[in-house]
């Protein structure tokens, strides 16, 4: 198994934080077409549209409460939007056939599972539903916990429960994985192991992953595309490489008497609490400098600062 992992992982271009180049079939695995969804008076999304192409690994990122889990519930037909519709693997979310559901590995938020079962019982329970079931993958993952196979899931820690649930999804060998906050409760070592497994799974080809996570740095080596979901349902979807290339962070100096620059079409998000103060922008340095000179001449633009993906995520969405 580890040999498989190493082969798969060797294909990852970690230098640039990019996933290996995979052939991209044109069909879409997920289509969200102009959905509007409300909770009471609060509109979560208005006319939100999104397409996930087959064979891609796409991360849905956003701050707490922007509606990532709700979007996944809408996708899987557990919620009905006020308007618009979602299609998964070519079928309407509310009319997914059993055969199509068998092709979708779904991780519910909080690693929801039948925790009254034991490690062995839950594998026995799921096995008959999936023709391509790979029990060896499940046991390879869960045996690492060093627990008896008769151990009850209810008596496990949050992280151990996560290992069981993710093991079940890998054993299912689905064509499409939808993972809602897969990293919740996982320690750093297991998270890496999970990423290795995911890389091996993707290495088999024809697989699509749509995931959310609060551990943004994992996305750097994993995903092809990022979708940033903002409050109000605005989204920004682009290839990760393009985002890393075009989204920039600049230091600036702010005299005590001067007002900090406000966000506008050029300046995405000024952060005056950072040391040094910094601003984020999709524009190049010259354009930002000209813009500041025209609007806030007292502010001196500094150098472009290197960013991790997490820095860029915070730069785009804000700290608060």
């Amino acid at each position: 198994m580890l040999v498989v992992f190493r082969l798969a992982c060797s294909q990852i271009d970690t230098e640039h934080g990019m996933s290996p180049v995979r052939p991209l079939p044109p069909e879409s695995a997920i289509e969200i077409d102009a959905i509007t969804h409300r909770y009471g008076q609060r509109t979560l999304y208005r006319n939100l549209s999104l397409t996930i192409t087959k064979g891609r690994v796409v991360a849905l990122l956003g701050k707490n409460g922007v509606g990532k889990t709700t979007l996944i519930r809408l996708l899987m037909g557990f919620l009905r939007p006020s308007s618009g519709h979602c299609r998964v693997l070519g079928q309407d979310s509310h009319a997914l056939s059993p055969a199509t559901r068998a092709r979708i590995g779904l991780l519910f938020e909080g690693h929801l599972t039948q925790d009254y079962m034991s490690i062995a019982q839950i594998e026995r329970y799921h096995r008959p539903f999936y023709p391509g079931w790979r029990a060896e993958l499940y046991y390879d993952l869960v045996d690492r916990m060093g627990l008896s196979r008769n151990h009850k899931i209810a008596q496990m820690s949050c992280g151990q429960r996560s290992q069981v649930v993710l093991g079940l999804i890998f054993a299912q060998n689905p064509e499409l994985m939808i993972l809602d906050d897969y990293s919740m409760g996982l320690d750093a070592g297991y998270r890496r192991l999970f990423l290795d497994y995911l890389a091996a799974y993707l290495g088999e080809g024809g697989k699509t992953v749509f995931l959310t996570s609060h551990v943004v740095q994992d996305m750097e080596v994993l995903v092809d595309e990022v979708v940033f979901l903002q409050r109000g349902g605005e989204i920004l979807q682009m290839p990760l490489a393009e985002f890393r290339h075009s989204f920039r962070c600049f230091a600036f100096s702010l005299p005590a008497s001067a007002q900090p620059p406000a966000a506008d079409a050029i300046i995405h998000n000024p952060d005056v609490f950072a040391r040094p103060p910094r601003l984020y922008s999709f524009a190049e340095r010259d354009q930002v400098a000209r813009h500041l000179a025209a609007r806030c001449p007292e502010i001196a633009l500094g150098e472009e600062l290197p960013m991790t993906l997490e820095d860029a995520f915070i730069g785009l969405t804000g700290k608060y």
Binding site: F78, L79, F108, Q114, Y116, R124, Y125, P128, F129
Partner: protein, 223 residues
């Protein structure tokens, strides 16, 4: 696949079933001891007079047991599905939701029926120890509405547990409690004989009805 479904239901129900079995056997034993005590402290003619002239029921300790059993089975079976929204896990399985819910219902109903059969056989045997066979058969026929109350309580609790919306949940509970109440109105032997077929048909309406909350849970407008 059906074996897997059976496995899950068994894992949820086994301890409740064991506890119910103990309670049912205990109540049957209590009924036997109570009858034996009656015959020791009273003349047989007096007990005969109470039972068949005054039409007092001798087996009332069993009266509410099937209803309590039905509700307990539903709680053990569907409580865990309801908790933390685990019902969604089952609804994502590659199997038709209606067949899945009916298979759950069949498992619960069969176990409830087995306990009811135990009650009926036990009742027939106990009454038959002291009374003629006709009296034992009459006691079982008199207990039939109580056994039906077990099915109604099971289905009513199932509907309430699967239903996502509180107003409907309360409506299901209200209707089911009223139905259960209707089955405990007798004051003597075999008073429900003529109406039992109609009540049975009415109770069978629960079979298609359980699909509705499952459908609403799957496709609800908001959680």
């Amino acid at each position: 696949m059906w074996q897997a479904i059976l496995l899950k239901e068994w894992l949820k129900l086994r301890w409740t079933l064991a506890a119910l079995l103990v309670v049912h056997l205990g109540l049957l034993a209590y009924l036997g001891l109570a009858l034996r005590y009656q015959f020791q402290v009273e003349h047989s003619e007096m007990i005969w007079y109470w039972a068949f002239e005054l039409r007092r029921l001798l087996h009332t300790p069993l009266q509410y047991l099937p209803a309590v059993t039905g509700a307990a089975l539903a709680l053990a079976q569907f409580g865990p599905e309801r908790l933390h929204g685990r019902f969604r896990l089952s609804l994502h399985l590659p199997v038709r939701a209606d067949l899945l819910v009916w298979s759950w219902l069949a498992v619960g109903a069969l176990l409830g029926a087995a306990l009811s059969a135990l009650d009926a056989i036990g009742l027939y045997g106990l009454i038959g120890l002291w009374f003629p066979r006709e009296a034992a058969a009459s006691a079982v026929l008199t207990a039939l509405p109580w056994l039906l109350a077990g099915w109604v309580a099971y289905c009513g609790a199932t509907l309430a547990l699967l239903e996502p919306a509180w107003p409907r949940r309360l409506a299901y509970l209200g209707v089911s409690l009223a139905f259960v109440g209707l089955l405990f109105q007798e004051r003597g032997y075999q008073e429900y004989d003529l109406v039992m077929p109609a009540l049975l048909l009415l109770a069978l309406l629960y079979v298609p009805a359980v699909i509705l909350p499952a459908h609403r849970y799957r496709h609800q407008a908001s959680l």
